[in-house]
């Protein structure tokens, strides 16, 4: 739970928007141009560029100019931090449940 940093916060922020999650889902099926994403999500080109910019900042997405359009694909984001954070969170909760279970069992044993 103590494992966090600015990049992690920005990554979670980038993931917090439904449109940005939609864009990542779309890109997990293959690359797409800004124009294709705009059409798919009913957004303006500038709207898509803004979202892609947030994703690009934390390396969830990379873009490259291909001919006259800009192509987007999944980026090399270091999700190690994100997964480590989730793992540490998971262990904390697992520990709480185990401790609580042991407490209840110790208490009811005493009652018998």
């Amino acid at each position: 739970m103590q494992h966090h940093n600015a990049t992690l916060d920005r990554t979670f922020f980038a993931l917090s928007d439904p449109t940005r999650r939609g864009i990542l889902e779309r890109l997990s099926g293959g690359s797409a141009t800004i124009g294709e994403l705009a059409a798919r999500f009913g957004l303006t080109l500038n709207g898509v560029k803004k979202h892609v910019g947030v994703l690009e900042e934390v390396d969830l997405v990379t873009t490259a100019k291909v001919g006259r359009s800009r192509e987007c694909q999944l980026g090399p984001a270091e999700l190690v931090d994100v997964t480590a954070w989730i793992e540490s969170y998971r262990q904390t909760l697992e520990g709480r449940l185990e401790r609580f279970g042991a407490y209840v069992e110790a208490r009811t044993d005493g009652d018998r």
Binding site: Q2, S16, G29, L93, F100, V104, R107
Partner: protein
């Protein structure tokens, strides 16, 4: 699909006892406790729908985490649903939803705990929408990238 975090514990006690323990001060102290000497747990619980349960816990007075739960559903002895704001040492916070289900199983109780969503404070302020799920997306993202899948299969 990793849509949420789910935990189970079969507890050798009757369902009512497990449920009531979770909503009483000693049980709550156990839930947030640690073996560490001097570990602090302070819990105040207003057990009613819309009621607030606040918990402060940590290694010392100077290092306290704070959880503020609001009871959304209280269905004794079957189910509890809470929305939680967790405040970290640096003052930042995030929200989760916590669902706890108590099921009878051969005289014992299967306690299932599910937590969903990791929205940021920014999200709350900007969008005011419900709790999104980062887990399923992360899962798909990780699997969609060849080098991550490769790393996974190397592990196994």
């Amino acid at each position: 699909m990793t849509h949420e975090l789910r935990f189970e514990r079969l507890i050798d006690a009757e369902r009512e006892v497990v449920f009531d323990s979770f909503t009483d001060p000693d049980g709550q102290a156990a839930f947030y406790g640690q073996d560490q000497t001097g570990w602090i747990v302070r819990s105040e619980c207003d057990l009613r729908v819309g009621g607030v349960w606040t918990v402060e816990f940590g290694a010392s007075q100077a290092e306290l985490y704070r959880h503020r739960h609001v009871f959304e559903v209280i269905d004794r002895p079957r189910r509890l649903l809470l929305t939680t704001t967790e405040t970290r040492l640096d003052g930042s916070s995030f929200d989760t939803e916590l669902e706890i289900v108590f099921q009878e199983q051969d005289g014992k109780t299967l306690m299932t705990m599910v937590t969903r969503g990791f929205p940021t404070a920014e999200l709350r302020d900007e969008q005011g929408v419900g709790l999104p799920n980062a887990f399923d997306l992360l899962d798909r993202f990780v699997h969609a990238r060849p080098e991550m899948s490769q790393a996974k299969s190397d592990d196994s």
